[in-house]
Amino acid sequence: MPDLLSLFLAKYNYWVVIFLMMIGLYAMMAKNNLVKKIIGMNIFQTAVILFYVSIATKHDASIPIIGHGHNGHHAIHAADYMNPLPHVLMLTAIVVSVATLGVALALAVKAYQQHDTLEEDEIIEQLKTDYLSQQ
């Protein structure tokens, strides 16, 4: 039993990511209000970002900026600094999630303008009635 617990403790960051993703997924599927769906989507994307950032850390390594003393005269060994690559990737991923959030909100605002409700079932109801009236 202890190894399962230690296994969990040693790698807790992966479990947290999975947990967050499930919350995000649940919110996107189950919630009726459009904005809540968008929040769920954002949680989902942030979970993936958290996953990447958690890879980058190293025990007792400082932030990936080379200190002043190191301008070239003696070797920099990698163990001192955190892995910069995931941080770079996540800068891009954060920007992407913000952009998607922006477009989603724009669509939600447009939906609100057309149907002046954010509840998805009411919108679908209105669309049905318009469609039938068109027939």
Binding site: M28, F44, A104, K110, E120, I123, L127
Partner: protein
């Protein structure tokens, strides 16, 4: 100059998108010419690049001068060379076809429309050309975002369906991102060829399998394979015509290209087909996709919704063909990627031409069109024949490879599904052709102005010329399918297949 083709293909449309946005504010007449010029330049460089690939093998383009695992490298081989040409060609044809209708629909937002149009094409071209997994994700997002915006422009249900497309698309992209993350943890690199080098040496294969499943599920959502296809029909049928006939032929095909690229280059076919034991499951998934898609397509009474369901069926063809695992199946799948893009473009352009005159696309509005719009309907018939798989057109040849692949692999359910869906396609299309051929031209949709009969004439010229060019291409690609296969597809598919199977 020719060494810079890979960069030119991507950068010229991107720069043009920026200029077009600025031009949108200053002088709107500039937008169309710049967009057209940019796409023509990228088309020519794609053709030049393909010549170089044919001459001296794969081309590696080191972005910013750094070597692959550290910097990003663009990797062009036979497979993505031909698809680059396809994308730029489809984009040019669609741009010309929808010049007037785009100008009338997006009057003062024309600059933004053309900028999004170019960004969508840049995104797709970037996806096809890049050799880096994370870069592929970023470009995937660009093309999807501009896709959501373009599709969301239509009235009525378009907003909600585009929002659904956004949700599902983001889930798919995030799954793909997670999949690359798993790969990154285990291999430490993002460059496709580099990962492929590290993967065989790994002893614990579990994370690699999980990453493969995640990437696959993400891509299946994005390419609308049957159970995950719910967003596609709404998104495409309520979209404005210029957007729908650009996005419909390209998005799902490029997603399938990504799946092919992942399996052929990163995970190697023997891992994907043998160690994963899911080939059987996916083949059955494809069979269900084909059958269900055909039945759903039959139920529709609107033209564009029917065509969207047919796209779901075509995705079933390609995925099923590719996952047969043998050479004929794969060649068929790749050839079908090319053919289907052109077929869908031809049919959607025809639908766009009809809707530019008739405003509705329900079947009862399509009466008597053979008399009124003969050329558009002829192009529609050629597109329909190609989707059904009648010989002179290209659809037949990819279906031929798919069927022979199915028989070789002994997967007779897939062959049966192909035949049944062809027959259902016959019913679908001839139902539409019958309506427009037999029933007299009832101008109930022009009831208000009395001289509608005389006014109603053929689609405008700049809508008609690309349509007829596409129809001609369908037949040309059919007749010269052999050259397409031996010169472009076989060198791309076979080496990695022979190496492992």
């Amino acid at each position: 100059m020719s060494a810079q083709f890979p960069a030119l293909i991507i950068i010229v449309p991107l720069l043009a998108a920026l200029f077009v946005n600025i031009a949108g504010w200053i002088r709107r007449s500039l937008c169309f010419p710049t967009a057209l010029a940019a796409l023509v330049v990228s088309f020519l460089s794609a053709v030049g690049l393909m010549g170089r690939v044919m001459a001296d093998g794969d081309v590696i383009y080191r972005m910013a001068g750094w070597d692959p695992p550290w910097g990003i490298a663009l990797h062009i081989d036979h497979l993505n060379g031909i698809i680059l040409i396809l994308i730029s060609l489809v984009a040019i044809l669609n741009l010309i076809a929808h010049r007037t209708s785009a100008a009338s629909q997006f009057t003062n937002r024309l600059g933004a429309f053309y900028a999004l149009y170019l960004l969508f094409v840049t995104g797709l071209m970037g996806i096809v050309i890049t050799g880096d997994t994370f870069n592929l994700y970023v470009l995937l997002e660009i093309s999807s975002l501009s896709g959501y915006a373009l599709l969301g422009m239509g009235g009525g249900r378009a907003t909600l369906s585009s929002l659904h497309y956004l949700f599902l698309g983001t889930i798919g992209a995030s799954f793909y991102l997670l999949g690359i993350g798993y790969l990154y943890i285990v291999t430490g690199s993002l460059n496709m060829v580099d990962i492929a080098g590290i993967l065989p040496a790994l002893e614990n294969v579990a994370p690699v399998k999980v990453s493969f499943i995640l990437c696959l599920v993400g891509l299946f959502i994005k390419m609308a394979l049957f159970p995950l296809h719910t967003w596609l029909p709404n998104a495409y049928s309520h979209a404005p015509n210029p957007a729908a006939s650009l996005i419909a032929p390209l998005t799902t095909k490029v997603m399938i290209y990504i799946m092919i690229r992942l399996i052929l280059t990163v995970y190697q076919p023997d891992f994907a087909f043998i160690q994963m034991e899911i080939a059987e499951f996916i083949q059955w998934l494809a069979v269900i996709a084909i059958i269900a898609g055909s039945i759903l397509a039959y139920k529709q009474n609107r033209l564009k919704r029917m065509l969207s369901y047919i796209i779901v069926v075509e995705v079933g063809y390609m995925v099923g063909g590719f996952w047969l695992g043998n050479a004929a199946g794969m060649t068929g799948a790749v050839l079908h990627v090319l053919n289907d893009a052109m077929m869908t473009l031809c049919v959607f352009l025809a639908a766009g031409a009809v809707m530019s005159r008739v405003q509705f696309d329900e079947f009862k509005h399509l009466q008597g069109l053979f008399g009124k719009m003969p050329y558009t309907m002829i192009a529609f018939v050629v597109g329909a024949l190609s989707i059904i798989g009648v010989p002179p057109t290209c659809g037949f040849f990819s279906k031929w490879y798919l069927i022979s692949g199915g028989i070789n692999a002994g997967h007779y359910a897939f062959v049966a599904a192909l035949i049944i869906s062809s027959l259902v396609n016959v019913l679908l299309f001839f139902r539409v052709i019958e309506i427009s051929y037999f029933e007299p031209f009832a101008n109930h949709h022009h009831s208000h102005n009395h001289h509608a009969e005389s006014l109603f004439q053929e689609a405008s010229l700049d809508m008609l010329v690309p349509l007829l060019v596409t129809a001609g291409l369908l037949i040309a690609m059919g007749i010269y399918a052999h050259i397409l296969v031996t010169q472009f597809i076989e060198p791309a598919v076979l080496p990695s297949l022979m190496g492992s199977l």
